[in-house]
Each structure stands twice: as structure tokens, then as C-alpha cells.
């Protein structure tokens, strides 16, 4: 009985932990929150002005990381700091989920380096 209980609680903890990991952002909500982003980063996440990065198809967690860095000053950028200031952690997850889900023009460097292609 004791053993079964231990196992059960272990299982419950694992299940809970994995839902937390999988929770992530909600792309639908992110689209609604990303209105101000579109002016520079494009409605499709592919900024036309080359000074702004393409976000479409970028890694979800990387976009989150960048947004946190702009917010707390690890990246010093006046425009992004202002945009970020009012975003909650949940907003950041949702917006990252949205942009990362869009059709991309980006790629890793695999196959693009001198010598291997």
C-alpha cells in the first residue's frame, strides 16, 4: 500500500511537471497581443525594413529570451524596452508562440557554410 502510494504520488508529480513544461504560450492570444509588433516586424512576422529582425518561424524560446533581455536591460534598445515594459511573462510566452508559428524565411546555418554545400 505504502509503495503504491509512493509510486502514485511520483507519477502525479511527473504528470504535473510535464504539463507545466508543455504549457507554453497560446498563439491565438499572442496574435491579439502582438498588434504593436506588426508596425515594425510585419503582420506576417517578416519585417520589410532590414533594420528590424524577421520573427516568423524563429525559435519560440529564443523570442521569449530576447523579450526578457530587452525588458530587463541585458539588451539595451530604447524601442524594444518601451514595447516590452508592459508585457507580462504570459504575454511574452503568447507572443513568442504566435511569431514562432508563422511561415518562415529563416533557417539554421546547416548546409550554408563554405565547404559543405
Amino acid at each position: 500500500m505504502n509503495r503504491a502510494l509512493t509510486l502514485l504520488s511520483f507519477g502525479a508529480i511527473l504528470a504535473f511537471a510535464s504539463t507545466q513544461l508543455l504549457a507554453g504560450g497560446n498563439a491565438e492570444n499572442g496574435k491579439k497581443k502582438a498588434g504593436t509588433c506588426f508596425a515594425c516586424h510585419g503582420t506576417d512576422g517578416n519585417a520589410v525594413d532590414p533594420q528590424y529582425p524577421r520573427l516568423a518561424g524563429q525559435y519560440d524560446e529564443y523570442i521569449q529570451q530576447a523579450l526578457h533581455e530587452y525588458k530587463d536591460g541585458r539588451r539595451n534598445n530604447a524601442i524594444m524596452k518601451g514595447m516590452d515594459a508592459t508585457l507580462s511573462d504570459q504575454d511574452i510566452e503568447d507572443i513568442a508562440a504566435y511569431f514562432s508559428s508563422l511561415p518562415t524565411k529563416l533557417d539554421t546555418l546547416q548546409g550554408h557554410v563554405s565547404g559543405d554545400k
Binding site: A47, D49, P50, Q51, Y52, P53, R54, G57, Q58, Y59, E61, Y62, Q64, Q65, A66, E69, R74, R75, N76, N77, T104, K105, L106, D107, T108, L109, Q110, H112, V113, S114, G115
Partner: protein, 107 residues
């Protein structure tokens, strides 16, 4: 058209021409330079050590953004140990060449 107008037009053209020449990076030179970048940016899903997040996809990224980002790592406006060190090793011309090559890869 008066002589003065012609002169200013010529000056404007010359300015535009040099601005254009200044901005254009050398893609072929950039392709050689990104060999180092591929150690991390060439591995799909490759993770930064701490904190953990995937290193960004940079092939096809916009040109001026890449230039600004690399200068940011050089100046300390962006803090990242590895990227700070890498950016220090690049000249302004290197950065333009890297950006020209990476941006040319947009799918």
C-alpha cells in the same frame, strides 16, 4: 535648370553612390566568415548552455539587424559571453560581409 541645381544634384548622386557602396557587404567573404558561427547556429535546436534556450536561426535574417546586433555585442549593449567574444574578433567590414551573406539566404 540652373547651374547650382545641377551641382547639388550631382552632389546628391555622389553621396547616394558612396552610401550604397559603403553598405554593400561581400557575400562570398561573408560565407567564409560564418564558418565559426555554424558551430552553434548551424545545429538545428542547439541550446545555449545557461540559461537554456535555442540559439537563434540567423540564415535569412535581415541585413541591417544583423549588423546592429553584432555591433551591440561589441559595445556591450547586448550581453552574451560567447557572442561578445566573437563580435570582438570581427571588423566593421567583416560584419557587413557576414550580414550580406546571411541575409541573402532568406528562403
Amino acid at each position: 535648370m540652373t547651374r547650382l541645381q545641377l551641382l547639388s544634384l550631382a552632389a546628391a548622386m555622389a553621396f547616394l553612390a558612396t552610401a550604397g557602396a559603403h553598405a554593400a557587404g561581400d557575400k562570398a567573404a561573408g560565407k567564409k566568415l560564418v564558418y565559426t558561427c555554424a558551430g552553434c547556429h548551424g545545429v538545428p535546436g542547439y541550446s545555449n548552455a545557461y540559461p537554456q534556450y535555442p540559439v537563434p536561426k540567423i540564415a535569412g535574417q535581415n541585413e541591417q539587424y544583423i549588423i546592429n546586433a553584432l555591433h551591440g555585442y561589441q559595445s556591450g549593449d547586448r550581453t552574451h559571453p560567447t557572442m561578445g567574444a566573437q563580435a570582438q574578433s570581427l571588423s566593421d567590414t567583416d560584419i557587413q560581409n557576414v550580414a550580406a551573406y546571411l541575409s541573402s539566404l532568406a528562403q
